[in-house]
């Protein structure tokens, strides 16, 4: 599988577009900063959120049982899926048993992870993503490029063209208001015709046996209060123990995600719609294995706010697709190789380890330290090219012997300046493609310090 760097290079090469993408996301980061600043207890909230998640994960099985009990009392039907295939089969069975052929979905990264849409479509079910951004990428037959802003990689002109073709909007029209209105009309029809609604879960509460879904558009509310059947899909890590924990996470989530104080709708489901049914599918799909890995289990605390993507200087200049996984950016660079180290071996290296992600993360996942640690796993698993591993071994040998180091340094500084430029800056020198090499001075620092010392002594 081609690595992140190869996919990032063409994105970065279109500098104008890359800058536009960078600015759009940086703008969201600034909005986040303003919201975070307005809360004096922000850092305390992050600390608490992190500790609540750590605690919950440490007793997750007990809390899931408590949740199941209380949810059942709320007339919610609880299903369990070990993996993506089982998840998809459960959802399909619920729909098929009721003869449902039209499903509306609100955003759920889990169903993206499980590739639910193609699974259902292949079985004759019409699936409509109703979040505007998700609908846009669905019409383009693309995955989302960002978990909160699925169409952030597209310009309004791209969307205008798409809607002209798919929804019959005026040719050349690209005003966001106009396009959104067209989508509203189009999706209202879908909502009115839907027989079931599927949502993700932002938080589920063990103590109350219910769950919370956050949207700005109201699509989850439309999709779950018109049809009689509501299916909600969640990874087990979405659970929190108490309803008061919701306050901690809801204060952090929208502020971190989009720089809003809260989403327009924060909907609490504790039972089915009048005369209807409510199903919840609890999914593992590799998560329990991650729970067993001490170095990486904190990645399960993620509340999918996307802040680490918005702040990541690499993501902003390489785009979501360069990661090749449902969840891109710093958190995706952990989750993808945790699931499939062979195909995503390059992702832990797709970071300058600047640490901005760790500082922005509302649940304080030590993202850049985990990426650093993951690199060692990749080397141990021989997933890093041999040439690179050998180069490092050679370098280590030289650096470990002071004489060899001094000799090699002296030779390099003596020889490189005398070499023809074409030889130094050949295609084998990626440093020198857009940059000059550092100067090759005559003396090393130790030489200068020695001289300083002897001159002082002489004086």
């Amino acid at each position: 599988m081609i690595g992140h760097a190869e996919k990032a290079a063409p994105f970065a090469a279109n500098e104008k577009r890359a800058h536009w993408h960078d600015q759009a996301l940086w703008f969201v980061r600034l909005k986040r900063d303003r919201q975070a600043e307005s809360i004096p207890e922000w850092e305390e909230l992050r600390q608490t959120a992190s500790a609540i998640k750590a605690h919950t994960l440490s007793r997750i099985a007990d809390y899931l049982e408590e949740f199941e009990r209380n949810a059942t009392n709320n007339r919610i039907q609880v299903h369990w899926a070990c993996d993506a295939a089982e998840h998809n089969a459960i959802v399909h069975k619920i729909l098929a048993d009721r003869g449902i052929t039209r499903l509306v979905k609100s955003k759920s990264m889990l169903t993206e992870e499980c590739h639910l849409n193609p699974y259902l479509e292949a079985r004759g079910i019409e699936v409509t993503d109703t979040d505007l951004g998700e609908r846009i990428v669905q019409l383009r037959h693309e995955p989302p490029s960002h978990i909160v802003l699925p169409a952030i990689h597209l310009k309004k002109e791209d969307i205008g063209e798409l809607f002209h073709k798919e929804l019959g909007t005026q040719a050349g029209a690209s005003d966001p208001k106009y396009l959104t209105e067209a989508a509203r009309g189009h999706l209202r029809q879908k909502f009115m015709a839907a027989q079931a609604g599927l949502t993700g879960v932002n938080f589920a509460v063990a103590e109350t046996g219910g769950f919370v879904v956050c949207t700005n558009e109201g699509n989850a509310d439309m999709g779950t209060s018109l049809p009689r059947v509501h299916i909600a899909c969640m990874g087990f890590e979405k659970l929190v123990p108490r309803s008061k924990d919701l306050a901690v996470f809801l204060r952090l989530l929208a502020r971190s995600a989009t720089g809003q104080p809260v989403t327009s709708y924060t909907t609490h489901f504790h039972g089915p719609v009048r005369g209807g049914e409510l199903h919840i599918v609890i999914v593992d799909n590799g998560r329990s294995t991650i729970l067993g890995q001490e170095t990486f289990r904190r990645s399960l605390s993620c509340i999918r706010c996307g802040a680490c993507m918005n702040t990541c200087p690499v993501f902003r200049r390489s785009g979501g697709y360069s990661y090749g996984y449902t969840i891109p950016g710093p958190i995706g660079s952990l989750l993808a190789p945790l699931r499939d180290p062979k195909n995503f071996a390059s992702l832990p290296f797709a970071s300058s380890l600047c640490g901005s992600c760790s500082d922005v993360c509302p649940v304080k996942i030590d993202l850049h330290h985990e990426l650093y640690a993951f690199r060692q796993d990749m080397v141990r698993g021989k997933r890093v090219p041999l040439a690179k591993r050998l180069a490092m071994a050679g370098m280590s040998y030289v650096l470990a012997q002071t004489w060899a180091y001094r000799l090699a340094g002296g030779l390099m500084r003596g020889i490189v300046p005398r070499m023809p430029r074409a030889l130094v800056y050949g295609p084998w020198n990626p440093w020198g493609r857009q940059r000059e090499l550092p100067p090759m001075p005559r003396h090393s620092a130790r030489g200068l310090i020695q001289r300083d010392l002897t001159q002082k002594g002489a004086k």
Partner: protein, 196 residues
């Protein structure tokens, strides 16, 4: 073994040592929560109106253009608004389509973010009303404001609740080039009367 049991067994096997469950921090206390609420609610695209008395609501409603021209109005607040839709007569939530204005009572407001708690019981027979309506009006007593979400969750009783939603302004999206557009799927406008 069922999937349920094998998942739970794996989670028990792999769980780390228990760490303590902390209490949420004490939240910010605003000197003037009504002012903070008004600012927050306005910042999320809502229209905030402060009224001294309940009797002031009806004349104030007429000033809302969407209301003045509305054909179908449903009020779930006793004695308020020119309600002309019999919600109990609807057989199906789909019949709400075409509703111009819904007037709903919020239980309390949250100053930090302009959110209004609306329990399912305030939504009448069809909970879809708050999102299907083209325009939404919320009525909240001025005495019912809390500072933060921490206080909010101390108030909410989930026992027998079924459904409840925090509403903070109208429906919106910024999915096209981060340009904010009000009126995505739900209400195109959200007016709030803080009364008393």
């Amino acid at each position: 073994m069922s999937s349920r049991d094998s998942i739970l067994a794996a989670l028990r096997r792999n769980a780390p040592a228990t760490s303590p469950l902390p209490e949420p921090p004490a939240g910010i206390v605003y000197p003037d929560p009504a002012k903070q609420f008004a600012e927050a609610f306005t910042s999320v695209g809502g229209k905030f109106v402060r009224l001294a008395r309940r009797e002031d609501i009806d004349p104030e409603l007429e000033k809302i253009e969407a209301y003045a021209h509305a054909r179908k109005i449903a009020s779930l607040v006793a004695g308020i608004g020119r309600s002309n839709v019999d919600l109990n007569g609807l057989k199906d939530p789909h019949e709400l389509e075409g509703l111009d204005v819904a007037i709903i009572a919020g239980e309390f407001g949250v100053a930090e973010n302009g959110a209004v708690w609306v329990p399912g019981s305030a939504l009448g027979p069809q909970r879809a009303i708050f999102v299907v309506t083209q325009h939404l009006v919320l009525v909240v007593p001025a005495s019912e404001l809390v500072h933060t979400m921490h206080q909010a969750y101390e108030r909410i009783r989930f026992q027998g609740l079924g459904f409840g939603v925090f509403i903070s302004g109208p429906s919106k999206t910024a999915d096209i080039e981060q340009a904010l557009v009000i009126g995505a799927h739900g209400a195109r406008s959200c007016t709030l009367f803080l009364v008393g």
